[in-house]
Symmetry: C2
Subunit: 436 residues, 2 copies
């Protein structure tokens, strides 16, 4: 039984998890693969830091380039992150005829087409289960499990930091800044959490999911994204009064060849399964024409969950290698020729429901003025909460609309916010009352 | 681009779904596979009935045997159900060097080892995603997604009929018989629902999941099973008072090479994700040492969801055929040599919490007698509900226990039910307060 050689580049948190899993589950992994997976080299610029896992002498190296030319390495695992060095590593590995496993969503969102084209040409496999949803096997589910079906929509909670912060804000009624700071202290949010809370990380992942589900490789810059920074405890409380929970959702829909893709805080019915996904958990809710509604749930990040996905990918390639058929040909789309169809719907043309919180002076006639402007833009109101406060100069008026066009909503808000009707910019959160 | 030929045996509900999916999504399926999937023949003893889908002349035949020798057929799809003819079809197809897709859980639970051994020997692939959880890609998830991890436990809602009936009973407070009759009238339960409501169907599926997760092929007869017939509206109501919801769970756990496998109504915390899985939906909650808690959710049965799984399996085999490497070697275990380890824990040795509803005469001293007997058997009580009823001769005493051994519990109940303390046999439902 010959061994399959692994070269790991990037010895950070996930890299450490991969080393641990390969060591701790070595016998199980060997049994299930049909041959042992042997870690030939680990490359990281920092060779000094003690990660608490032992590597044999000579395994840890500073320069990754040797790994790409090592005949004992059949699979290169890229876990450095980012889109520059990671791209060189992945393309270098492919060029040398090595198979690749990566968990790098940014890399695939930005350079995916180039990478999968190169892999196709060279006849090697690039696997990326760890790139979306940590240990949740969502990539396989879409590539293979739902391959026969026409997927209609995806609603994903795919950023653990945002979900953790929103869950805490919801449970404890505390503001965004305070909860985020606490999460950072606990190591549950990065020192620089910008990509997590502003929707960029979720947009990277949505790019990958859209390509898989709809065969359309989206330009990252065209995916509308809005983060959770603007959500206040008041919005969470009003949302609850309407029976909704706020989640950062990555949404993609396909209809008649037109794709809708967006990331933003979204109010969803509190009774919906997605609304119960709390803390660092992720969930991807996929609706297919034939399969109906499905959901995959699990820890969306972290050392061991993501390492599980990465090592499982390596095992899958290794099984193929042992049968002399490593390539299953499942790139970003199920089949490469299927990519690059459809067109992206401009954000202004999407239709959804809206939650609007106006900050207005506490005097009669304001609601009538606001609803008049909304009506002028074809936006009809489904319900209103108007709270009175003793001696308060400004009070909130909260409105839930029926389905409306984004363009109309924006025009109406521009009109309202530009007038002296309101005392502060209006808060707007999109609402998805029906997720299927 | 050469076509891949499909032969379908069994033109019932799922068979019809497969035909529809192959027809309606033909272009998508061809694109994603890399070649069209062509339905060469459909065999069913009933060639007269109109199923509302059109087949070309000569495609529908009464005798399946021709399909097993047809050189234009590379993949045989078995959807006749049962364990006799289905076994002949599957073994015949394998013998002739044809790949197989089946959704037949009973067949795999009873003859799985024989079938996968034959497939291994002949070098063909047997895929069975549709056998558990309808369109939920749980087989792939365990075979591949979690392959690198040590799975510790599985808690599955994997019988749609039982879950539908229990959900309705819970929502409407009506008794089992009435809800089941209504479900039958609506076509949501079979005319003979015995296997569904008595736990047999779930046990078949648990057999498959255990083999995949733990590499241990269980003897179906050794899996403890208990159905939902005995659950009353009163149990559901008391359960709610304790903060629990009753679900028919298929449970499998592995620890130190010992496997625990059982199917029975189970009280789980109402706040747990599994408790929110209602109606005909299925969900499989898998806990892995590294990946943590995960859950896959979707429609667990029905024409189109199951057809999705079946056709996706066929596409997967077809993709392999086009690359001259159809076999991925993923039988009932990830790797065949991994099967048949571990031993099954006898039901008497399991440890869980118990809900006990005693029917007792309304007079003092009874609780003391019952708790005395429980105490004698090392069973400690966590809470008690004792309802008084005006003018009632018999009243319920409901007890929740702490963790106890099944053997002790049974001995205690035998003692209590054998005495004149109770007026009717005691109701017992197992409780899993901590599912992870």
């Amino acid at each position: 039984m010959k061994a399959v050689g692994i070269g790991l580049v990037g010895f950070g948190t996930i890299g450490r998890g991969v080393v641990r899993l390969l060591q701790e589950n070595a016998s199980l992994i060997g049994d299930r693969t049909g041959a042992p997976l042997v870690l030939r080299h680990v490359a990281d610029v920092d060779t000094a830091r003690d990660r608490g896992v032992a590597l044999e002498a000579g395994v840890l190296v500073a320069d990754y380039r040797g790994l790409l030319e090592d005949d004992e390495i059949q699979i290169v695992v890229e876990l450095v992150g980012g889109t520059t060095v990671a791209r060189e590593i992945v393309l270098g590995a492919i060029e040398g005829g090595r198979h690749v496993v990566t968990a790098n969503k940014a890399l695939l969102a930005v350079h995916g087409k180039e990478i999968f084209d190169a892999a196709e040409k060279r006849g090697v496999e690039v696997r990326f289960e760890g790139s979306v949803g940590g240990g949740i096997p969502i990539i396989r589910a879409i590539q293979e499990g739902f391959a026969s079906d026409r997927i209609e929509s995806i609603h994903g909670i795919i950023n653990g930091t945002s979900n953790y912060v929103l869950s805490k804000m919801t449970a404890e009624g505390r503001p965004f800044d305070a909860v985020l700071r606490k999460a950072q202290e606990k190591g549950l949010a990065e020192a620089d959490p910008a990509f997590d809370v502003d929707g960029t990380d979720a947009a990277h992942k949505l790019c990958i999911l859209s390509a898989l589900a709809f065969g359309y490789y989206l330009d990252l810059d065209h995916i509308y994204r809005e983060g959770i920074e603007k959500i206040t405890p008041a919005d969470i409380e009003f949302s609850r009064e309407f029976g909704f929970t706020i989640k950062l959702l990555a949404i993609a829909r396909a209809k008649d060849g037109v794709i809708e893709a967006r990331v933003h805080p979204t109010m969803i019915p509190s009774s919906h399964l997605l609304a119960t996904v709390d803390g660092a958990y992720n969930a991807i809710y996929v609706h297919g024409a034939a399969v109906g509604s499905t959901m995959l749930y699990g820890l969306g990040a972290g050392e061991m969950p993501t390492a599980t996905a990465v090592v499982s990918d390596a095992m899958d390639i290794a099984r193929g290698l042992l049968r002399k058929a490593p390539r299953r040909g499942s790139g970003l789309s199920v089949h490469n020729s299927f990519l690059a169809r459809g067109q992206l719907k401009p954000m202004n043309e999407i239709v959804c429901h809206y939650y609007l919180r106006f900050t207005v002076p506490d005097r009669p006639g304001i609601l009538s003025r606001i609803s008049g402007i909304l009506g002028d833009h074809d936006i009809s109101i489904s319900s209103v909460i108007q709270k009175r406060r003793e001696h308060a100069r400004n009070v909130p008026i909260v409105i839930m609309t029926h389905a409306a066009r984004e363009k109309n909503l924006r025009d109406a808000l521009a009109g309202i916010d530009g007038s002296d009707t309101v005392q502060a910019p209006t808060q707007m959160v999109r609402v998805e009352p029906d997720l299927a």
